[in-house]
């Protein structure tokens, strides 16, 4: 039997002071900080200003998911779309992914631009942003 669930612990927390955040990182200018747990600081050593990074996070304010939410009407759309084709925070697993730009790294704090997460969002992973090769 394959495992039926997986448990993850936050590696840090998103902090910012914007009262509102855009619906998507691709249109966000919001600045703030990724405050990473101090015991993980060695893992940040190659993150540099000017880079883009991928942030995986937990949609910590999402209501529980149910079958009625498999299709949802996104804001500014006229019809419902399948949940796996939209960026809704209400999903079978409340996992979020954003691409943000690094402004500065100081010890365990990464200052970034382009946030679309709520303040206090738990961060689960940071990955390098790698452009998809257009050729495939």
């Amino acid at each position: 039997m394959p495992p039926t669930d997986f448990t993850f612990k936050p590696i840090g927390t998103v902090r910012h002071r914007s009262a509102e955040v855009p619906r998507h990182w691709s249109v966000s200018e919001v600045e703030g900080e990724l405050v990473i747990n101090a015991d993980l600081v060695d893992g940040l050593k190659d993150i540099q200003a000017g880079q883009r990074i991928i942030v995986l996070f937990h949609f910590h304010k999402s209501p529980p998911f149910g079958p009625g939410l498999l299709t949802q009407k996104p804001p500014r759309r006229k019809s419902k779309k399948g949940v796996f084709s939209i960026c809704s925070p209400v999903r079978p697993n409340p996992l979020g992914m954003s691409v943000v730009e690094v402004i500065e790294v100081r010890a365990n704090v990464i200052r970034v631009k382009g946030l679309d997460m709520l303040d206090e969002t738990p961060i689960l992973d940071i990955k390098p942003y790698i452009e998809s090769s257009g050729g495939r």
Copy 2:
């Protein structure tokens, strides 16, 4: 107190018959299937052939993470890099992210190209692939 851990359940499983997979999706031509749980099929309705999609998954074969793995030497590199700047499957949270191309969708099975996951990898989420605006 913020929550200290989060539990996710797989939404499906990666299936393919390749004995080996490339280290990264950006160089992969491997074809296979994302077999999504049948009860979630309505969520797939807008996924179409030719699209790219983001797949979040669980690195189910990774050994446990420890502080000694905060920096790792990637294959073909000479020096160690911080874990958050590389794509290693051995990470504080064993979460993977790949971009694959949809070949065909039949009911709850998405045939794709560009896999870099092992056969039987548990899938946690599928998201639309949105190109980062170069202007930010």
